[in-house]
Subunit: 138 residues, 4 copies
């Protein structure tokens, strides 16, 4: 089993038990060691009082990509700190993609940038996440 | 209409149209100028693959409190940057409360800390949010 | 040796070898387990091209308080992520105080808020810092 | 005067009056609209009690690059929120380079990622900064 197959097997386990990622309608596009690409569609029940996607929707989406990417190396990894900047609004029907980038990986700590773009390529959010890498294996 | 009544009127408008905060089951406990206290219960569909609340749930909850608190002064305010640290896990049935603290308010910028605690008083997340205060009134 | 004495002994070791904190002119006001209060004065060589204190000065000041507070429990602790919001400008001659607040402390992770105020009590910066707590003792 | 010349003229004004950037020994390698590359050398007076560069040194260095890049479009821009993750230690004699990347630019807000690397190419810090873009021109 190579790294990509191992990553897929771990994310299978994570995703298949992840009720909230399933409620979001998250679709897995690609995964590899330290990497995850996800897609989802904004639905009316995801909007806030301004008629645009609630900030928590894009955060949740990025946070799933972050969890998949950071755990895919095989060690259980827990979120320590995450931040997000929302740079453009989303409306019902918009299709968004999350693309992870592993910026740093040491024995204990991993840092990831995640960019969310919508169907026309426009960037809508920038997420940064830091994990603590436990010694427990998947 | 005093400040507290004005805050309540604005949050009424925000909350009544906020489909995602309603999906979360958010209950408004108190609001005032620059302040919001909210409560909600963790449900099975909010869990991730570790069997604990998805990080996006507590983020979304804090983000609603942040939006209500920052808009309650009367000027439409938009999120610029938010961060969250998850400090303890949550399980289905846990009841959580978000308490905002307005740390800085200038003509253009507002900064809020939000603490989330669970039913036994244990802190489960620390959120920080920054808004840009537009010149548009509610 | 009680907790306060132990904290002081550790910070003695840290501060006495800390060339940059000494260049800043940092004065230790108080320390205890998980706590540090520091003071310093803004000098002309600390200003940027706007004639106000460079953002790095207040960051450095808060970062020293963060290091002292988080190490004072006795375990060597390393910074994982830090953020700062500058909320008011500082000029040469201003005297600033950093006050730490330990917001979370688990076996592996510590989270601190640090507020910087100037001589008239006005808040000038809000800092948040997260450490990884190693198993090495001071 | 094209964009690059305008950027250089603005950063000339900023840098020539920036006492702290000069104390750091910051050398300007390149600038353009929304971009800055800087270099500096770690000196003994920049170390902390662990014998490595104080976290405030790399923050300050990145913060200068952030200020130069964000102001270089011609509108005075002020820092709202900044964060840094230190990913590897630095010792006296190390030569570091800061490279900015403009991630988002709207009418009011700009977001920048800054990567700091040392002489052998190893990444030592990741910085994120958000500015509010005033209507005042340089």
């Amino acid at each position: 089993m190579n790294g990509k197959e191992k990553a897929t097997k771990i994310v299978d386990q994570m995703y298949n038990n992840d009720a909230f990622s399933q409620w979001l309608g998250i679709e897995r596009i690609e995964e590899d060691e330290g990497k995850s690409i996800l897609r989802m569609t904004i639905r009316p029940e995801m909007l806030n009082g301004f008629g645009i996607a609630h900030g928590g929707i894009t955060f949740s989406f990025a946070d799933s990509a972050f969890a998949f990417a950071s755990n895919s190396h095989g060690r259980k990894s827990v979120s320590i700190e995450t931040s997000i900047s929302h740079t453009a609004p989303l409306r019902a029907g918009d299709v968004i993609t999350a693309i992870t980038s592993e910026e740093s990986l040491s024995n204990k700590i991993g840092i990831y940038y995640i960019k969310i773009i919508k169907q026309d390529g426009q960037q809508v959010a920038l997420f940064k996440g830091t994990v603590y890498r436990t010694t427990k294996e998947w």
